[in-house]
């Protein structure tokens, strides 16, 4: 378990002090995948680096399994770091070494005997699916393969914690999926505590058990992913959740003005969570209020066993009827937003 307590990191900027971390308190349970999400400059990169003290906080404590590592000396920290794996956005592999030699690197740092290193590397290569690339120099690999080397390297010392610093941000969507699956697999297989930072809600949704939203060095909301998705409290988090559920597609369509062709009608967006998906809301509205509903965009997705849906609907008919229909929808547990009035 990792406990982060009232953590502050202050830099002296040209126009006064800058608070990269402004009183962060988090508890990261053992064996889970904990995501930290926020816009760039929010402090998430600084935050993840305090877990292995690559960044020393100005105030506050980081406690790993009951040990306050903020009090550690540099040499004790080095011993700790050997037990905490880390992977990076730009992989940070040694170009002077082959795949196998890169995986061996952290073991050489710890002074593991050559024979044991060889055996451990031979174990790790198939785990990340790179058996046939052992003697390839890393510059000849694709981004996804490089991150697999990064993961194997991070796991070499049998760490208890894996830190992922925007590990999929430089990868295409397909490769991102396969890397996320790998991280999720090793989390279960090795009972590894994973802390990851990202700016992509998709990553949180795909593999995280817990999530913390961070903005300007402060935690806005932190909870289980299920809880955040079904019941976001702050508006920032709501927006993030909605974005993750609709994807960029709806936003893109709206920006292109594709839905503004018909001059009549009211454009609304309804978002269903959980059971709402199964209710015949639209047909009820059409029958009860004598309006026409033209579905312009629809999307249903799931998180675990909870379903989510979004519909973009154009309502046409008598104005009073439309107003009543909207009132009615608002009374149900479906979220409604008017995008354009008639």
């Amino acid at each position: 378990m990792i406990e982060i307590k009232s953590l502050r990191k202050t830099y002296q900027g040209p126009s006064g002090p800058l608070h990269a971390l402004d009183g962060i308190t988090l508890t990261i349970p053992k064996g889970k995948i904990y995501g930290i999400i926020g816009p760039s400059g929010a402090g998430k990169s600084t935050l993840i680096r305090t877990i292995n003290m690559l960044e020393r906080p100005t105030e506050g404590n980081v406690i790993i399994d009951g040990e306050d590592i903020t009090r550690y000396s540099e040499s004790r920290l080095r011993a700790l770091r050997q037990q905490v794996g880390m992977i990076f956005q730009h992989f940070n592999l040694l170009t002077s070494r082959t795949v196998a030699e890169n995986i061996a690197f952290p073991l050489e740092i710890c002074g593991v005997p050559k024979e044991q290193i060889r055996a451990r590397v031979a174990e790790l290569l198939p785990l990340v699916g790179l058996e046939d690339k052992a003697d390839t120099y890393v510059s000849n690999l694709s981004g996804g393969q490089k991150q697999r080397v990064g993961i194997a390297r991070a796991l070499a010392n049998h760490p208890k914690i894996l830190l992922c610093d925007e590990a999929t941000s430089a990868l295409d969507p397909q490769t991102t999926q396969s890397i996320l699956r790998l991280i999720s697999d090793i989390n279960k297989k090795l009972d590894l505590t994973v802390v990851l930072i990202t700016h992509e809600m998709n990553v949180i949704r795909e593999i995280c058990d817990y999530v913390a939203f961070i903005e300007q060095g402060k935690i806005i909301e932190a909870d289980s992913v299920r809880q955040i998705f079904t019941n976001p409290r702050s508006s920032v988090v709501k927006e993030f959740v909605q974005g993750a559920l609709e994807g960029d597609k709806l936003q893109h369509l709206l920006e292109e003005g594709l839905f503004h062709q018909s001059p009549r009608g009211v454009l609304i967006r309804v978002s269903f969570v959980g059971e709402g998906v199964n209710e015949p809301l639209i047909s009820t509205v059409i029958r009860r209020f004598d309006v026409d509903a033209n579905i312009l965009f629809g999307n249903v997705d799931s998180l675990g066993d909870t379903a989510f849906g979004t519909l973009l609907i154009e309502l046409t008919g008598e104005e009073t009827n439309i107003v009543q229909a909207i009132e009615y929808i608002r009374l149900t547990h479906v979220r409604l937003e008017v995008i354009r009035h008639g």
Binding site: N52, A79, M86, H90, N92, I109, Y137
Partner: protein, 217 residues
Amino acid sequence: MVETYLQSAWETFYMVLISSTVATVLGIPLGILLVVTEKGSIGPNRLLNNTLGFLINVFRSIPFIILLVAILPLTKFLVGSRIGTTAAIVPLTIAAIPFVARLIESSLKEINKGIIEAARAMGATPWQIIRMVLLPEALPGILLGIIITFVTLIGYSAMAGAVGGGGLGDLAIREGYMRNNNEVTWVTVVILVVMVQVFQSMGDFLTSKIRKNRGLL
């Protein structure tokens, strides 16, 4: 005459080889020190960094011919004589050390900072980072730097004639220029050009081979 040319070519080669070797051995640690003591690096030390940078700049700004004369007492102390080929090695080496240090510094600075951070995250000591990350990663650049030093010293060694150091440059000045013997001037220049070409090509070949091997080309 051929023997004179060969003798001079050997003297040049000998002076340059010894001085660039010694300068490399002493310059690499200085280059490393310049990089690691920088702010935000693995062993920041502002005082040491500034002092070292200043001293290197001072030595680099002294014209070689002045340096040659100015350090005569030191030369005498180190090699027991103020004149001769071996005596010329001392000023050549001293001129080359800061040069090597700056070249090493710039090739080490080209290493992606993320790789160093990754090594720190694995619990590497500063010494391990130097040995296992900085030097191997910068190897092609370091090799090129050594070759550049070697080639530059060939030029500097011409001035070594001033302390009776001999070599091709000295031959060109004494026999070619002062005695107005154009043939000697031309032949020595051609030999120097060939020497420079050969060593530069060797360096280029070696570095590009390493880079290609690593998939960087």
